[in-house]
Amino acid sequence: MVTAVDKVGRWHIASRVFAAVVPAFVLTNTTGIFLALASPAGEFQAIATSLVSAFAIYTVIILWIFSVKRLKTVWWGLLAGLVLTGSGSWLLYTFGANG
């Protein structure tokens, strides 16, 4: 195990841990908001569904962060996810039925 870590480097691990703590947490929230706004169900039902799924979403993102081969993919992926869910939520809120 120690040799495996040495191969990828400690900085590499630290970068992924940071990605899992901060951006992944924010992405979980934006994904939850996006899903709640995109859901055809009523407002309460949609938000409750997002909340109930929140930690499952977070866990999937964490597993993805630690499974991807290249560190670059992790960061570009997180950025893309944040931009898509963030702007998507904004569009849905501003122009959607709930706006």
């Binding site: 495996a4 309460f44 039902q45 938000i47 909340l51 630690f66």
Partner: protein, 525 residues
Amino acid sequence: MIGSFRQSMTWLHTWAGLVFCWLLYFVFVTGTLGYFDTEIDHWMKPELASLDKAPIDTRIDTAMSHLEANAQGANRWFISFGETREEPYLRVFWQTPGETEDDPPENTNVTLDALSGEPLDDVARDTGGGQLLYRMHYVLHYIDSQIAFRFVGILTLFMFVGMITGIIAHKKIFKDFFTFRVKKGQRSWLDMHNLLSVTSLPFQLMIIYSGLLFVTILWMPLIAVGSVGFDTKKAGELLDLGGEKIEAAGTPAELTDVRAVLAHAEATWGEGSVERLNIYNPGDANARIEVSPATGIGLLPETHVYDGTTGELIDSPTLPSSGALSFASTMLGLHEGLFAGITLRWLYFLSGVLGTAMIATGAILWTSKRRKKAADEQQSRGFHFVEIMNIGTIMGVLIGVAAFFWANRLLPVSLESRADWEAHAMFIAWGLCLIYPLFRSRRAAWRDLTWLTAFAFAALPILNAATTNAGLLTSIGKGDWTMAGFDLTALGTGVVFAIAGLYLTKRGVTREVPSEQAAMEVAAS
């Protein structure tokens, strides 16, 4: 990240599992004991063992006269009728508003002897009881409970990640279920870890994910707030399931007969179905009496609201129905297991034990895999730290729990902050167990602490018989199976650890070094 997908997941399983494994072990031990919280309360308050039961009307009268005498000016009264597993005793609670709007309301809780009306705290010894053990599993101890609750949420996320990656990592998890290689060092620990995890997998997934649901709104409020355009007020109203609060009219009015209200509610839900009721604005013209039947698996029951002066049924509010909300309340209900009868309660307890053992074997496996390497290398400080934490925690938390029970019987009843000292005894014992392995070889420390655990539990019935008149034989004679059950469980726990101690002692004599075959398998893996 490292090699194949499965290798990456194995890496994550190892480290997500290790980081908080000792605290998670503590959470699992105290949470598992929490399934028997009121039974432990019963043992820890032997003075109440001979309390007589009272009919429901007497209980209502006792509760109402206590509230009328002590809770004037409160805006909420609450009565729990008692004589259930959850609440064995009659309990009243009242909430008095603070001096100004900003002051927090003052809450008072009193359990009563239903026959004499005497507060039970005056009768029973000062103890944290099973409730304190139960609370420790989600708010720890010595730490601000709000912070600790959020922190336990983080631990739970680590556990969930560990659980999912564990399922992925063990590709032959269900096939290996039938494999158990005995006395093969590392392989045996791996097989045991797999066996424990697979047998209790559905329970673990339920208990961990529902654990996360408890902290979801604390950690992810942004989802609710963000979904309504960051309007915190709207989000608050949307998620407030408490219903409307009725304001007091300010004109006094006599409260209706609570017995009649209860009789009306039980006509709908069945006799004995109501275990508690709330009275809002007692003594005011706008008084309301709120009644709910005992909860099933889900935690959100239907409610009847009565006018507090006329006793008329005025509303039966239903909560917004939602698939997600039903899922959440069912999961939370399953987590708490309040609905469980005695057989299911034991299954809950055993599942908790399996989960606790899963964490323990995982932590031991970590050292077992690395022992040879750590011996070869100079840099083995991390390894020794884990090893000492393992010995001192796996046995230490159990010895701590036993110390908590010993302190309950040995501390003088008149001692100032007695309940606090019971908890101190627990953590002092755990602390000493963490220090002990520093001065002993690994094998000797495991062996000694295993024997100490065996003694600490097995001797509890003797201690109980010597210090109270609720000893094992007396309890059995009286048919008090809750008291006797505690003693017998303690004895059984002691016997299990004595068997483990015997095994470790024998092994220490015959096998100071691991057999050649086991060593080769470790090297090959």
